[in-house]
């Protein structure tokens, strides 16, 4: 009897967030028949994609025990740069390269400050967040961009075999970085640094280098995310990307990656991201005010971390 109880408890703690996910979906489905339509589900995935891509990078950063709160504004800056250079007649490939380079550059700055100079990650990325937003405003003079080369919106809107290219692309990225995180030397070091930085250093490994790598990848993926976001909307505004860093962090945490680093999974982050957007979508199609959406999202984040903490307590 007791054993059964323990088993149930373990199951709730280990899979609690998935159970919650399923329950939420069922409730939405009952409340609104449209929720489970293939069109709506597809739509949710398309909306999730850009955030989900950036959340991969955020996972790597959080696995090292850090955090990157610059990614949201960085996505916005990438969009603005795309808008500016589109106006100068740069082609689609060029625009993509600019977005990626911008992400890479900020990632390098973050990684250097945090890995080598040892500025606390929150502070360093708070700084670059401000810099990115400021640059967006200065470059755009506060005005949005809506003129892009013909076909620029392909990445964000095209379908291959009935499924969004953006969604397929995101899935491929998840698989690549899942293999990267679990199957390469750099991935292993990233996990280990989050587990015990000093032990990694005293294994003769340059922790600074691998910590920096995580931020560089995160910045680069923010560049990809910014590109996808701009392409899907065919619109770039200096206020775009606001709070997106919080959504990526929420996706990582809901996915079960520990904020202290060392433990977690890139793949599970995708579940966290989808759950976040299922909530948003379900509440919207049920005519719940956006004000309540924030509240519910906040509660889900706490629930996810609560379950994890209980699980770890039990283990200890």
């Amino acid at each position: 009897m007791n054993k059964q109880k323990d088993f149930l408890r373990d199951a709730v703690l280990s899979y609690g967030i998935y159970i919650a996910f399923v329950l939420i979906c069922i409730v939405f489905a009952i409340l609104s028949p449209d929720f489970f339509s293939p069109g709506n589900l597809h739509n949710i995935l398309i909306q999730t994609a850009a955030i989900a891509i950036v959340a991969i990078g955020q996972t790597l950063v959080i696995l090292t025990g850090g955090i990157d709160i610059s990614v949201g504004r960085l996505m916005g800056l990438c969009g603005i740069l795309i808008g500016v250079f589109a106006g100068k007649g740069v082609g689609i490939a060029g625009l993509a390269a600019i977005s990626l380079l911008c992400g890479l550059a900020i990632g390098v700055v973050n990684g250097y400050l945090i890995g080598y100079i040892r500025i606390p990650a929150f502070i360093a990325t708070l700084g670059t967040q401000g810099i990115c937003y400021g640059m967006s405003l200065i470059i755009s003079q506060g005005m949005p961009f809506s003129t892009f080369p013909k076909g620029f919106d392909w990445m964000g809107t095209a379908k291959i075999g009935g499924i969004s290219f953006l969604v397929l692309f995101t899935v491929v990225l998840y698989l690549i970085f899942w293999i990267f995180a679990t199957g390469t030397k750099t991935g292993r070091y990233i996990y280990s640094i989050g587990g015990n930085r000093e032990a990694v250093r005293l294994s003769g490994i340059s922790t600074a280098r691998y910590e920096m790598t995580a931020y560089v990848i995160c910045g680069l993926l923010a560049g990809v995310g910014g590109l996808m976001m701009t392409s899907r909307l065919n619109f770039a505004s200096p206020s775009a990307g606001e709070n997106y860093e919080m959504e990526t962090i929420a996706a990582v945490v809901i996915g079960g990656t520990m904020m202290t680093g060392g433990s977690g999974s890139v793949l599970k982050t995708s579940i966290g991201a989808v759950l976040l957007y299922v909530l948003k979508n379900g509440l919207t199609i049920n005519d719940v005010s956006p004000y309540y959406q924030k509240l519910v999202t906040g509660a889900i984040i706490i629930l996810a971390v609560f379950l994890d903490t209980m699980k770890n307590k039990k283990r200890a």
């Binding site: 292993r188 990694v200 294994s203």
Partner: protein
């Protein structure tokens, strides 16, 4: 006079270890009672029980004649027990007064009464015959003054017993005099003082009685004036262990030459020694002698400016620990959980961490190769675990140490620096670790074994260096005819 503290039959058992075995200890008001013993003899355990950090397995404590129940640090504080630890607990960012009154600030009409607090703090300092501005930020004060602040903080409340843990370790002779003056004033107020130190001369200067602990047992309590330093050393060391020293496998080839290596403790006058293939070089000394600091300096873990070591006859600069590892040197930290292992990762991950390049195929980790390579070490070193996938955190101390050793064997380290290799490891597993170290030496590795456990050093080392206050004070080649007292005499500076 009635004893202010009576500890009777104090026993403390940790899993696998009896740290204290029916120890009696008493303290008279106005007395300085010295607590003496080797590292690991049980001094700190006894103090932690008095402070409420540990609860005894059995035994009773009475304070001022009344039975005291000390379960938490708060209980000890309320009974008037204060501990001045070696690591001072003052807050650098606030003033002397704020430190002294922390937690029991004076108030007037709901607001903090700074005027009165400064006045009282000044009075306390004056009582100790000590000049210090109560409004000064503690961070701006030297270590000696900080210590005084801590003492004043301790005695300004209701205080009956003060424990000093190595209070003079980082003080100059003049500062020690001032401290002793303060201690004498505390004595005059009838406070009972427990004094822990390894420095013989000062024990005779300040102490009234001495209690010697060894291996968790009380050996004797004596009036300090009735024992000679030589007697004390003998009491501390006990009978020499009848261990036949192991066979020496040292070969001619010198693998490491260290010349004038500075340490954090002693930047000017460095330490020099050589190490040969197959040799186990023991480095010992009391806490604070600079053993770990020496290892961290020569490995490039602490940054101390340009310096070199000669490895296999090749002079190489000490730049970073990463370079050191490339030269075939490994440091196995005394803090296995904090510096040796990634506890939340598997045993396999930990073993292969420094040697990832050996298990990489293309750009991916070859899991099979990794598992079998690590598995070979798990088997060879007999790491007891359900499997290589088990987390490092779930292993016992002895098995954790074996994982750390496996890490460096897989990395082909030729020179292994063990820092307190058996600290926190139970008796049975200790033997296993020694066996492994002996086998390593026999197979041609060079080993430096840092330990403050003198029995261990005599048992395992082929040659012994004794450090004191950051300097090499002895190098002893003839280990077979060495007694524990000889080493203790060097360590204590008793000639």
């Amino acid at each position: 006079m009635e004893n202010i503290l009576e500890m009777r039959g104090i026993t403390k058992q940790f899993p696998g270890v009896t740290a204290l075995d029916h120890v009696d200890f008493d303290l008279r008001p106005g007395e300085v009672h010295v607590l003496l013993g080797e590292n690991g003899a049980g001094k700190s355990t006894l103090i932690k029980i008095l402070a409420g950090a540990y609860t005894p397995t059995s035994g009773t404590i009475a304070i001022a004649g009344e039975t005291a129940v000390i379960r938490r640090p708060k209980d000890a504080l309320e009974l008037g027990v204060r501990i001045i630890y070696q690591e001072l607990m003052v807050n650098d960012y606030i003033s002397v007064t704020e430190n002294i009154f922390q937690g029991r600030e004076l108030k007037k009409r709901g607001f903090l009464d700074w005027k009165e607090m400064h006045r009282q703090a000044g009075a306390f300092l004056q009582e100790m015959n000590y000049e210090l501005d109560p409004q000064a930020k503690v961070g701006s004060l030297g270590i000696a003054k900080k210590q005084i602040v801590e003492i004043v903080k301790a005695v300004s409340g209701q205080c009956r017993i003060i424990v000093f843990d190595e209070p003079t370790a980082s003080l100059s002779p003049k500062e020690i005099e001032t401290l002793f003056d303060v201690i004498r004033r505390l004595k005059a107020r009838g406070i009972g003082i427990v004094y822990i130190s390894h420095r013989m001369p000062e024990l005779y200067e300040i102490g009234d009685r001495v209690t010697v602990l060894r291996d968790g047992k009380k050996i004797e309590t004596r009036e300090i004036s009735s024992v000679t330093p030589e007697d004390l050393v003998t009491m501390v060391s006990g009978k020499n262990v009848e261990e036949r020293p192991k066979e020496c496998h040292a070969r001619e080839e010198v693998v490491l030459e260290v010349e004038n290596m500075p340490t954090v403790l002693n930047r000017d006058e460095g330490i020099s020694f050589t190490l040969r293939r197959g040799e186990i070089l023991g480095i010992t000394g009391l806490v604070g002698a600079g053993k770990t600091e020496l290892a961290r300096s020569l490995c490039g873990i602490d940054n101390l400016g340009p310096r070199t070591v000669t490895v296999h006859g090749r002079r190489v600069p000490v730049k970073s620990y990463r370079e050191t590892v490339k030269n075939g040197i490994a440091y196995l930290s005394e803090d296995r959980r904090g510096e040796g292992l990634v506890l939340i990762r598997s045993i396999v991950d930990n073993i292969t961490l420094p040697s990832m390049d050996k298990v990489i195929k293309g750009c991916l980790i070859d899991r099979k190769a990794e598992k079998s390579a690590a598995g070979a070490y798990i088997e060879k070193l007999r790491i007891r675990t359900p499997g290589g996938h088990a987390l490092a955190m779930n292993l016992s101390g002895g098995n954790q140490q074996k994982v750390v050793i496996a890490k460096w064997l897989m990395r082909d380290a030729e020179i292994l620096i063990f820092d307190e290799p058996t600290r926190g490891i139970d008796v049975g597993a200790k033997e296993e670790i020694y066996r492994i170290i002996f086998d390593l030496a026999e197979s041609g590795k060079a080993v430096i074994m840092i330990s403050s456990d003198i029995d261990e050093i005599i048992r395992a080392a082929d040659r012994i260096i004794v450090l004191k206050d950051g300097r090499k004070c002895a190098e002893l080649d003839d280990v077979r005819n060495l007694t524990k007292d000889t080493i203790l005499n060097y360590s204590f500076g008793v000639s």
